[in-house]
Symmetry: C2
Subunit: 164 residues, 2 copies
C-alpha cells in the first residue's frame, strides 16, 4: 500500500469548493426549472441532448452515456417525460433489441421556453461569477476530467449544435 | 422581460463540462467509498464536518447548512449513520428544541480508514488532472459561487482544520 498524500490547503479548498459549489448550483437550477416548467435539471439535459440530433432521436444507450446517467435512471426519467408527452420511445429499425428516444413537438416547445430560464440561471449562478479566463480554463479542465472518467468514451461531443 | 443572452461556445463548453465532470467525479468517488467502506460521499462529508469540531459535535441545523443538505435529507442520512453506530444525536443543552449531531469513536475510526481511499480518489479523478494554477483558480471561484448561493451565509469555513 502506497502512502496517502493528504491534501494541501489549496487542494482542500479547491476540492471542497467544487463539491459545495456544484451541489448549490445544481440545486438552484433545478429549483428554477421546476418552479417555471416542472422540469428537473436532468429532464432538461435529456431534452437538450435529443434536440441536438438531426431527427431529434437517439438510441437510449447513447443517451444514457452522454447524459452521465445509468440505464435504469434514464429509463425512469424517460417514463416521466413520456407521461407528459414530451418524449416518446420506439424500437430501433436496424436492431429490434435497441430502443430509440425521441423528442416530440410538445417537448421541443417546452424546451424552447425553459431554455430562457435555464440560461439566465447558468449565467447568474455560475458564469457571471467567473473571470473570462476562468471560463476558458473550466471548459478545458472539465473536459479532461470527463475524458479520464468516461472510460467508454461514449459521452460524445460536449459542444452542442444549438444555442442553448 | 429582458432578452436572453444565449451562451457563447466557450461558455457552453464550460457549463457542460462542469455539469458532466461534477456528476462523473461524484459518482466515481461515491462508488469507491461505497465499495471500500459502505459510505456514500454525503455520509463521508458529514463525518468529516463533525470531525472538525473541537468536541466532534455540531447542531443539526448548522450541519445541514454546511453540508449543503436540506434538513430532511440530513435527517435521513443521520438515521443511517446512527444505525451503524457512526454518529449519535442528542438534545442541545442550551436549547431543548435543538438537536446536536455527534461523531462516535467508531465513526472516527471509520472516517480515518475511509479518508485514504477518498483522498486518493480526489487526486486521481480531479486534482491530478488540473494544472497547479487551475487548482488555485478553482478554490477561488468556487468559493465565490458558494458565497453567492449560500444566502444564509451558513456554510461556514470551507477550510477544514484536519488533514482530510
Amino acid at each position: 500500500m502506497t502512502e496517502t498524500r493528504w491534501l494541501a490547503q489549496d487542494e482542500q479548498r479547491a476540492w471542497r469548493g467544487f463539491l459545495l459549489a456544484s451541489r448549490l448550483v445544481m440545486d438552484q437550477l433545478n429549483r428554477e426549472l421546476h418552479e417555471s416548467h416542472g422540469l428537473s435539471l436532468t429532464d432538461y439535459a435529456i431534452l437538450v441532448r435529443l434536440s441536438e440530433e438531426p431527427d431529434r432521436r437517439l438510441r437510449m444507450t447513447d443517451l444514457a452515456a452522454s447524459s452521465g446517467l445509468s440505464k435504469s435512471r434514464l429509463s425512469h426519467q424517460m417514463s416521466r417525460l413520456e407521461a407528459r408527452g414530451l418524449t416518446s420511445r420506439s424500437a430501433c429499425e436496424d436492431d429490434a433489441r435497441g430502443m430509440n428516444a425521441e423528442l416530440t413537438d410538445a417537448g421541443f416547445a417546452t424546451l424552447d421556453a425553459a431554455a430562457h430560464v435555464h440560461v439566465d440561471g447558468v449565467r447568474t449562478h455560475l458564469l457571471d461569477l467567473l473571470e473570462p479566463e476562468q471560463v476558458t480554463g473550466l471548459a478545458e479542465w472539465s473536459e479532461r476530467v470527463v475524458r479520464h472518467l468516461d472510460v467508454d468514451g461514449r459521452s460524445g461531443p460536449l459542444l452542442p449544435e444549438v444555442g442553448f
